[in-house]
Symmetry: C2
Subunit: 230 residues, 2 copies
């Protein structure tokens, strides 16, 4: 079974689960991937741990990982960009393959932008501050482009809030200029490393979407490919 460490937040987990089903080429229900999801929103805040030195969620994440393994998971995924700050500790010594959302997103970038080009990042302050994507992008031959503080505080974070408040079209209008600014600065592709942002751009049917990788969908695609190849 595919084991999913979720709940950070629950909407991102539900979004991943829906995309996993969409991305599975199944003629009938029975061809879908058996999936075990622990969605536990009681975990210590990832943002507070990264930005303010709050309590680490790592012990809880390890406990969920082990619970999934004990219940029969043979492949693992964690549909939360920020939580990948602790990915190395979670994957180390893990007896089942653990698909990284960062690795999956880099694979998706390769399909739309050649190595040597720049890749823009859209995400929460914690995801960007933690440098979760930069190192892996560099290793894959890409340069990472971060949004300006003005775009982050004035456009990206407000657009995420608007999606959470159920106003996706307004969120899309707010976000689009921040994506355009990264493309204007030379990005050949953009990673939407936050579940709310693809929802925002889709709501305004933005043509910018073609240059963007939805990290949660990339993770779903990698899980399906890995499951089918097992």
């Amino acid at each position: 079974m595919l084991g999913v460490i979720g709940g950070m937040g629950p909407a991102a987990t539900a979004d991943f689960f829906a995309k996993l089903i969409e991305e599975t080429p199944a003629a009938g229900d029975q061809e879908h991937i058996p999936t075990l999801i622990v969605s536990d929103p009681r975990l210590p805040s990832r943002t507070a741990a990264i930005l303010d030195g709050g309590p680490s969620p790592l012990p809880s994440l390890l406990a969920i990982r082990d619970k999934l393994l004990a219940a029969g998971a043979t492949l693992l995924a964690m549909p939360c960009n920020t939580a990948h700050y602790w990915y190395e500790e979670l994957a180390r010594g893990c007896p089942a393959p653990f698909i990284s959302i960062v690795e999956a997103s880099c694979d998706a970038v390769r399909r739309i932008a050649p190595p040597g080009s720049s890749v823009g990042l859209i995400g929460t302050r914690a995801t960007l501050a933690a440098g979760i994507f930069e190192q892996r992008l560099r290793a894959a031959g890409y340069a990472a482009l971060l949004p300006s503080e003005e775009q982050l505080a004035g456009r990206i974070l407000p657009s995420i809030r608007l999606v959470k408040e159920g106003r996706p079209a307004r969120a899309g209008e707010t976000l689009a200029p921040a994506v355009r600014a990264l493309l204007d600065r030379g990005a050949a592709a953009i990673i939407l490393a936050c579940t709310e942002t693809p929802v925002a751009l889709d709501a305004v049917a933005s043509s910018l979407r073609e240059r963007c990788v939805d990290s949660n969908r990339a993770l779903a695609q990698s899980c399906v490919a890995r499951w089918r190849a097992r």
Copy 2:
């Protein structure tokens, strides 16, 4: 934790999970309900078991129930109308409360139609043939109205297929006359006892929707109420 017996099919489970999150009055991620989902599409077909005497999924459903209980579930739900054919066997002797989608739907009907009135049923052939809703509706003081064979074969089942094929607007146009026919025959409310049918009516923004209960959303509402009252 809320334990979810799912995978029948997986899209219905994902639909329930998204509605559970929507229906939870949470100011932040951490107020959401800790949830454990087993989505196992390898179960014997419920339809084949009910209509053609195929192998029963009950042993597998009991095994999933017990796996959820062992992993810490203190409340159970199963977002599949057809699988409620085995509800009594699953709830009997279960050490945690098991919320029924049938009971939850009857509660939602009470909010829009007075006892003594008729309630129309929209669902798959197996759900309707098994009489899963009739008995409970009768006990709650309602008369059940089933669609004609012509409406079932010519409109309801094709609309379900259209949603599965990703054509919700066409599905809505196909389904609407079947809902209207039940209302014309005197139904004061309709239970949409099949995950695809609310998607179809929503896609055409049908005004018929006001008279309809989405059984999966009703189950989510009952789970939230029960969780908060614990």
